[in-house]
Structures are given as structure tokens and as C-alpha cells.
């Protein structure tokens, strides 16, 4: 059941000003609760979301003149803060998603946004984010409690400390810098890069994309990396870690200790098990025909 369906939706004080050339101006202002749920769906090419310390929602920007913005619907009026708002942007007759929007919401808000090809840039949200695009880019800076991003070939970049994070792409590259308690990234052919910070549970999967993990693991943390043919690179630093690496046909290069990989089952591929330090955390690396590299 979609979370939005559990929300009462209140009428937005929305206005679309007089057309300006081939564009129409968007200016929506509304008092909202601090944990407001905002749903934005439709044809926009650029969306900038900023979490602020005010109990109000402001959406400004411009849309093609013949596109249509349907603001949040229903509910009692009278100035009560709205707990939920919903916007749907119908594409212009040309079908182009050329709208550019800027959305300010309380930092604790949960924002759900979905578009075709779009650039989504989010800053300062501590609530939840659920962002879905086909192409374009998604950039998130901040510490959302929950972060879910899905993209086809759009690149994804996250810097911050979400508590829970899921990123899924087909060919889009994923870059994460920061910390996370529970991280999962899956991609078909995009690259995955995780740097800095510390992770408690991390699962990274690709089919052909290369995966680089250059961050730390918390005590008793678990890291699992699976790839069919992408290269897996684990940059260990001074991490205390138990490592279990397996390839089916690829090779393993160990530059962090003197232990050499052994031939895999039936003489194909390689296997390497080693313990660094006191082995506080555990890393399992598996690749079918990609290579695995362990470096400092």
C-alpha cells in the first residue's frame, strides 16, 4: 500500500501566475506539518528540494505553458497545516519535460518524486526520500532517515549519513560518500563507488559494473559484494576485517597481506580467506568472472 494513500490531502494554496513567454510561473505556498508527506509526480526536468526549519511548503519555478500542474487536492481549508500534499504535472503537448521546480519543505518531511528524465537535487532533508527517475541525475546531500532511489541510466550521488539507503540502477553509476547503518546498492551495468565513513550492513551487487568499496565497517559490521563480471576493489585501509573472497573464473589480487589466493573448486577461479587485525567486521566478496582486488 503506498504511504501516500494513508494521508489526508489538504487543499493547496496554489497559483499559477500569468504566462511568461513560453513558460508559466509556479508559486505554491502552504502551511504544513513538520513531517509533511509530499508527492510530486510527472513531467519535470529539474527539481531542487531543500529542507528548511520552517513549517511551510513553498514550490516555485516554471513549467511549459501548455503543461498542467495539478496541486494537492481535497481536505478542509481554514489554514490548518497540511499533513500531506500531492502534485501531478501533466506533460506539455510536445511531450517535453522542460519544467524546472524548486521545492522547500520542513527538514523532517518525506518527499516522493518521480519523473522520466530529470535532474533531482536534494539538500537538508532528515525525513524520508523516495526518488524515481529513468534518466538524468539524482544528487542527495544530507542525512535523510530513509533514502530510496531508483533510476534506469541516471547517475546517483549521495553524500551524507542516511540511516537506511537503497539505490537501484540499470546502467546509472552510483557514488556514496558518508555513513549508513543499512545500505544496499544494486546495478546492472553501472559502477558503484562507496567511500569515506562507516557502514554497519552493506550489500553491493552488480552484473557487469565495477564495484569499489573504500569505506570502513563498524564493529561486527557485514559487507557483501557480488558481481558477475565487474571488478571488485576493496580498499581496506586500517580496517580490522575478516575477508572471504571467491571468484569462479576471475583472479584475486591481494596487496594487503602475504597470503596468496588458492585455486578455486576444480582448479578454476581463486579463493582467499584472511583475517586482518582482530577481525571485527566481515567482508564477503564474490565474482563470477570479474577480478577481485584487495588494496590498502
Amino acid at each position: 500500500m503506498r504511504p501516500s494513500l494513508h494521508l489526508a490531502l489538504f487543499l493547496a494554496a496554489a497559483s499559477i501566475a500569468a504566462p511568461l513567454g513560453a513558460q508559466q510561473k509556479v508559486d505554491v505556498r502552504r502551511a504544513v506539518t513538520r513531517d509533511v508527506y509530499v508527492r510530486l509526480n510527472g513531467a519535470f526536468s529539474s527539481l531542487k528540494v531543500t529542507g528548511w526549519q520552517k513549517d511551510s511548503l513553498v514550490m516555485t519555478g516554471s513549467l511549459p505553458r501548455d503543461s498542467r500542474l495539478e496541486p494537492a487536492m481535497g481536505g478542509p481549508s481554514g489554514g490548518a497545516p497540511a499533513p500531506g500534499m500531492k502534485f501531478y504535472i501533466e506533460a506539455s503537448t510536445s511531450g517535453a519535460a522542460a519544467g524546472s521546480l524548486e521545492l522547500f519543505v520542513p527538514a523532517g518531511a518525506t518527499v516522493w518524486a518521480k519523473s522520466g528524465s530529470a535532474t533531482i537535487d536534494v539538500t537538508g532533508i532528515t525525513g524520508g526520500l523516495d526518488l524515481n527517475i529513468i534518466g538524468g541525475t539524482v544528487t542527495v546531500n544530507g542525512n535523510p532517515r530513509e533514502l530510496n532511489i531508483e533510476s534506469m541510466d541516471g547517475n546517483v550521488s549521495v553524500a551524507g549519513a542516511p540511516t537506511w539507503m537503497r539505490v537501484k540502477t540499470a546502467s546509472g553509476d552510483v557514488t556514496v560518500r558518508g555513513m549508513c547503518t543499512d545500505l544496499a546498492i544494486t546495478t546492472v551495468s553501472g559502477t558503484v563507488t562507496v567511500r569515506d565513513g562507516e557502514f554497519e550492513r552493506a550489500r553491493l551487487e552488480s552484473v557487469t559494473g565495477n564495484i569499489t568499496f573504500g569505506a570502513g565497517m563498524t564493529r561486527a559490521g557485514t559487507l557483501l559484494i557480488d558481481s558477475h563480471s565487474g571488478t571488485i576493489e576493496l580498499q581496506i585501509g586500517k580496517q580490522s576485517l575478516d575477508i572471504d573472497a571467491t571468484t569462479i573464473t576471475g583472479s584475486i589480487t591481494n596487496s594487503v597481506s602475504t597470503r596468496r589466493p588458492t585455486p578455486g573448486r576444480e582448479g578454476r577461479g581463486e579463493e582467499l580467506t584472511l583475517s586482518l587485525g582482530t577481525g571485527d567486521a566481515r567482508a564477503t566478496l564474490r565474482s563470477f568472472k570479474g577480478n577481485i582486488r584487495l588494496i590498502r
Binding site: M1, R2, L5, H6, L7, A8, L9, N41, M73, G74, G75, K114, G116, N132, I134, E150, M152, D153, K168, A170, S171, T186, V188, S189, E205, V207, T208, D226, H228, S229, T246, I248, T249, R265, E266, R286, S287, F288, K289
Partner: protein, 226 residues
């Protein structure tokens, strides 16, 4: 009547979040439109069933005994046909909006199947006969899990096929390219697993690729239906 209620409106109607005016309009439409009335009934039933589901599902203690008995009773298993040949020409069975909700159920089933693939890498073996090749031994439960996976893929594929007009040609090209990449990886992994069926790492890698395929199809189906 051709202008049927949208999926969003139907959901909002069931969840009672429409405005009074929208609700009145939807009710008026449903009174006169058999298609939407049927869809609404089905959606309500699906929602009711979903709400009745337990929050967690634990396998019963006797499950393993059942699995073992099943494996013992099937010492010889035949590899399922390739995925391409398994595609059905049946279309449109799920055309009502309510059936879209069933995609979630499919995903749950798929997840269970894939978990089973990963967990059953070390269980009892059975002999697989592939025409024209020497027999190899793999887990019977693995074969069952793979069949379940193929069925789930087939159902999601059918849904996507019906909805493919809702996606742009460029997006469809991207989807098919990604699916081809995954299929190639699955074919390689599967072939290797038949050569080395007790390889737990291989089984996990194959399960990962299966998950990728199910997940991609699910996402595209959701995207097309919204």
C-alpha cells in the same frame, strides 16, 4: 463508457482520501461503468487480503521434512526449457487495475524463490538429465526454485508487454539492453552451476542475477502502470 477511472483514483477511492467532490464523481462513474465497478471490487478484495496477511512469515517446522520427502520422491529431474521458449502468448489476463496489485504478490513469491535458491545450495542432490549431454547432479529444490523464478519472470513479462505502450521507445531499448545483460550473466552462471552444482558461491551469484532481473521487471511494470 471509455473514460475509465484511473488507477490512482481507484486507489484513493478505496483508501478514502478523495475529496467529497471527487468521491461523488467516482461513485457516479462506478454506478454506470461495469468495468470500473469490477476493478473496484477486485481492488478492495486484494487490499483486504493484503491486510489479512501476517507481518512476518515463518516456515513451519515440518517444512524441511516435506522438502526432503519431495526430493527423495524425485531422484531424476529434467532441466526446464529456456526462458525464451517459455514465453506465453496469453495476454491481458490481468487487464483490470486490481490485478496490478498482484505484482506485489509475484515479487514476494519471487523473493521467496530466490532465497530458496541461495539457501538450498547445500541440500540433497538429484540427477538432472539434459538431452544429448551427460547427466549432472544438482539440488532438486534448486530446480524447483528456478522454475518458480521463471514463472515469476513470465508473469512480469506479460504485464510489461501489455503496458509497453506506456513506456517510451528509448526506455524500452534501455530495459531490453539491461535484461539482455542479465540474461547473459544468468546463462553463464547457470551453465557453470550445472558443472559444479555444489558450489555455494556460484549459487549465490546466480541468485543475485535472478534478483536483478525480477527487480528490473518489477520496476518497469510499476513505471509503466503509473
Amino acid at each position: 463508457m471509455t473514460n475509465h477511472l484511473t488507477w490512482e483514483i481507484l486507489n484513493d477511492y478505496v483508501d478514502e482520501v478523495l475529496t467529497p467532490a471527487e468521491r461523488a464523481a467516482a461513485e457516479a462513474h462506478v454506478r454506470e461503468c461495469e468495468t470500473c465497478a469490477a476493478a473496484l471490487t477486485e481492488l478492495r478484495a486484494t487490499v483486504a487480503e493484503a491486510r489479512a496477511l501476517p507481518a512476518t512469515v515463518m516456515p513451519p517446522d515440518e517444512l524441511w521434512n516435506d522438502v526432503r520427502a519431495t526430493i527423495e520422491s524425485r531422484k531424476v529431474a529434467h532441466l526446464p526449457a529456456g526462458m525464451a521458449s517459455a514465453r506465453s502468448h496469453a495476454r491481458g489476463w490481468w487487464m483490470t487495475p486490481g490485478k496490478l496489485a498482484a505484482a506485489a504478490v509475484v515479487l514476494v513469491a519471487a523473493t521467496a524463490s530466490l532465497t530458496a535458491i541461495a539457501m538450498n545450495a547445500r541440500v540433497s542432490q538429484t540427477t538432472v538429465v539434459v538431452q544429448g549431454t551427460p547427466s549432472v547432479t544438482v539440488s532438486a529444490s534448486w530446480l524447483a526454485s528456478e522454475r518458480a523464478f521463471q514463472q515469476n519472470v513470465l508473469e512480469l513479462r506479460e504485464q510489461l508487454e501489455v503496458l509497453h505502450d506506456h513506456l517510451s521507445p528509448a526506455t524500452l531499448v534501455k530495459v531490453e539492453r539491461a535484461l539482455a545483460t542479465i540474461d547473459l550473466a544468468i546463462a553463464e552462471g547457470r551453465e557453470a552451476l550445472l558443472r559444479d552444482p555444489a558450489n555455494a558461491a556460484l549459487s549465490e551469484l546466480l541468485a543475485s542475477n535472478y534478483r536483478q532481473k525480477i527487480e528490473l521487471l518489477r520496476r518497469m511494470t510499476q513505471l509503466a502502470s503509473s
